[in-house]
Symmetry: C2
Subunit: 459 residues, 2 copies
């Protein structure tokens, strides 16, 4: 054989090998989707989590039930190991009383998570602001002794509803502290929701260091519209507010962790996760029951098809994303102390809606790997068309400060998410089976490709 023929033969071999790999990849991905769409394990798991346990705020008995449920379910999959990681979590309780009325008319309201109670009935005149600038402009003379109504609607023009939500997030989180600076006695915010409806949406708030702790509530968007209209008439609007929520001592809880050990680099971790805790409204179906069952299903799919990963595939169901992120912080710290390295960490915490793609927080070379044509071609048949730079997720984010570089967020379609988020509307019935199952297979597919090629050359 001449040299020329030899090299031609070598190139041909490489070509065929490449094609075979590519075919193997597309077949594996196809198998993931076939399995989720026919077996519906994610949907069945979500039903159990939502209907047998329901809302599961950190530190609540339901959160502990969820830990036990997830542990047992992951155990039943025959993975290499399933264990709990202790996490001290804050415990805030909504209590029994939660009312808000304006000039005698009762509005649909809920306490914001972390708020102090009213200690009886709190009364005051309402003053409306659209943003913090207006609050500042009105100043102490106008705000003092009043209940500040922060009426900042999510911008409906933003195609990505997460951008609209982010833009208003500080009104919920810092509204009470900012208003108390000017002597407000309480705040009530317009719910951070995308639709005009009757659900008040909760979520976490905090008090700045040294700030006077005043109570904070959210009212439904319909009731915010109503209140806005009443205020525009010029008639003073007197509110009565009562809530007996409180913060109790920290509680011991757990991250639930399951693993398939890597065959080539067992010490290197490929993480997939969502958070097990939820707010105490609805059933935490989209937020983040979906991410929990996505992650469980992703690791189950590897096991189901006998795919031994090169790196250790670790599924983590984090505790306490909603009001403290203690699970994420604890994990990142302890993992680093053990000297672990992560190939990548992928989080699902944007609901169980139809998949669009992934958001990547990584160095350019790794982003380039994910953006290449071969990866695009493999994901396109499943309508996964987004591979963009962006945020990974709250639970995995603490890994960054310990030097981990590759965080990925699963991106379902964002249109419907903020009508459910943190409200009584976030229930199992509002998660579509096919949309949810497609998410699990999408996540498993990307994990498979990352594990196989490790951000190197795709054959």
């Amino acid at each position: 054989m001449t040299k020329k023929v030899f090299f031609l033969a070598l190139i041909l071999c490489q070509c065929l090998w490449g094609q075979a790999q590519n075919q193997k990849d597309s077949l594996t991905i196809r198998r993931f989707f076939d399995e989720t769409l026919t077996v519906s394990e994610s949907h069945n798991n979500l039903r159990e989590l939502c209907k047998n346990i329901g809302a599961r705020l950190s530190g609540s008995p339901e959160a502990e039930k969820a830990v036990k449920w997830a542990y047992a379910k992951l155990k039943s999959y025959g993975l290499d190991t399933v264990y709990l990681q202790e996490v001290k979590v804050p415990r805030w309780e909504r209590g029994q009383v939660e009312t808000f009325s304006v000039n005698g008319k009762s509005l649909r309201a809920c306490s914001l998570g972390g708020s102090v109670g009213t200690d009886g009935v709190l009364e005051g005149e309402i003053i409306e602001v659209r943003d913090f600038e207006e609050l500042e402009k009105l100043g102490k003379s106008k705000i003092k002794g009043k209940i500040v109504f922060i009426n900042a609607p999510l911008d409906p023009k933003l195609i990505d509803t997460f951008h609209a939500y982010s833009a208003c997030g500080s009104y919920r989180y810092r509204g009470a502290s900012n208003a108390s600076e000017y002597g407000a006695k309480a705040v009530v915010i317009r719910s951070l929701a995308s639709e005009h409806d009757d659900f008040p949406h909760t979520g976490s708030m905090g008090y700045a260091k040294g700030a006077v702790k005043i109570p904070a509530m959210a009212i439904s968007t319909n009731d915010a519209d109503y209140l806005e209209k009443q205020l525009r008439t010029g008639t003073p609007q007197k509110a009565k507010m009562a809530m007996d929520c409180q913060t109790l001592p920290d509680v011991t809880s757990y991250n639930v962790i399951a693993e398939l050990k890597g065959k080539r680099n067992p010490e290197r971790i490929l993480l997939v996760g969502g958070h097990l805790d939820s707010w105490d409204k609805g059933e935490g179906a989209h937020d983040d029951g979906a991410g929990v069952v996505h992650s469980m299903e992703a690791i189950r799919l590897f096991k189901r098809f006998g795919i031994r990963p090169n790196n250790t595939l670790r599924c983590i169901l984090f505790m306490n994303e909603e009001n403290g992120n203690r699970g994420g912080e604890t994990y990142a710290k302890q993992s680093t102390q053990k000297g672990e390295k992560h190939l990548a960490a992928l989080e699902s915490d944007r609901g169980g809606l139809v998949p669009r793609g992934f958001s990547v927080d990584a160095p350019q070379s790794r982003f380039a790997f994910l953006q290449q044509q071969k990866i695009e071609d493999l994901l396109k048949p499943y309508n996964l068309h987004v591979m963009r730079k962006g945020y990974g997720g709250v639970d995995i984010n603490p890994l960054k400060k310990y030097g981990e570089q590759t965080l990925i967020g699963f991106l379902p379609d964002p249109q419907r998410y903020f009508q459910y988020h943190h409200s009584d509307n976030d229930v199992f019935e509002n998660v579509d089976r096919r949309e949810l199952e497609l998410g699990s297979a999408s996540i498993a597919s990307l994990l498979y490709l990352i594990d196989k090629y490790e951000f190197g050359v795709v054959n």
Copy 2:
């Protein structure tokens, strides 16, 4: 000025002109989306159509109400002209009786559109087939005198649910004729639905020439599962079936048409449409209330922003897509007789779900226009990522036989459509406002680009 400098200046001018056009395009598209997402005209229109009128099968009083409603609404937009085009439509009525029971247990069933009634109670033993092959194999000896249960589930593995639906369509349409060839006395099909639930889904069926006309029903997928299980026990399953549906004489109805006259080529038509009729179950919200309000909103957006199209923009709300396509046929024929030419025809008849893109039935050169990078870049911010070859739509399809070449179908995400389609589940509440409004703006945007560039060079 030297020649060289002159040409350089010319090139620069063209460049700047191109950039300005591109900026103008992106601003116009942005305006369309801003308007639909804030004003919610499509959603409000859909509410009126669904809640004030509801289901509107061709020839029914509700269909006539829908014609009047659409005419008045389009009139209120101040377009150049709004008129009705007469269409003779078939009239089938479900009647009052519609029952199906098996060994005494009542199942959720509905008559298929076009079926004859049972003329009293029809009784018979059920025999199950999975497909037409099995029917043929069983033959006359096994089929004669029986009620054939065609139990063909939609394939859950297909990512595009329309493929799964199409694969089973013939069981609904031709099931009765095929079974009667072997002496069956009636057929009952498993609903063409993507989920396991309790809704029977109707839809059109027909009788082959010379076929014995036997009654045809659909049962819900849950009841099909139940019946399948009962049959597998080996116990004979005796059914009782009663339905008094009937076909009445044809009725005069209308396509509703509105136009904005073209300023450069008024004689050339750019068509956008959906169908006004629906099945007589639910409210015809996704099928095709969504297409109706999409089309109305698309033409309203041009008017709203003072965009005088180059070609005549014609919005057509077709009558009788569901059981005859007389509206589409009548329009295509009469338009051709008048010597009209169409630049393109775009139909929305796949529901009010979140937009993915468009399906194009056109010559390669026109497809290439739609596929080019500049178009892709303009649509990408709105998550419109699909521009593929494929079917346009039932109403516009007759145009093809008269030589029209460019038919386009709007493609919303297909995952949830077939849980609503042709059933009591197809109601206003199951259409998401943002998903619907994004569809209207997506359609208007593509029409704008097609009208402006007429499949030529995009600046």
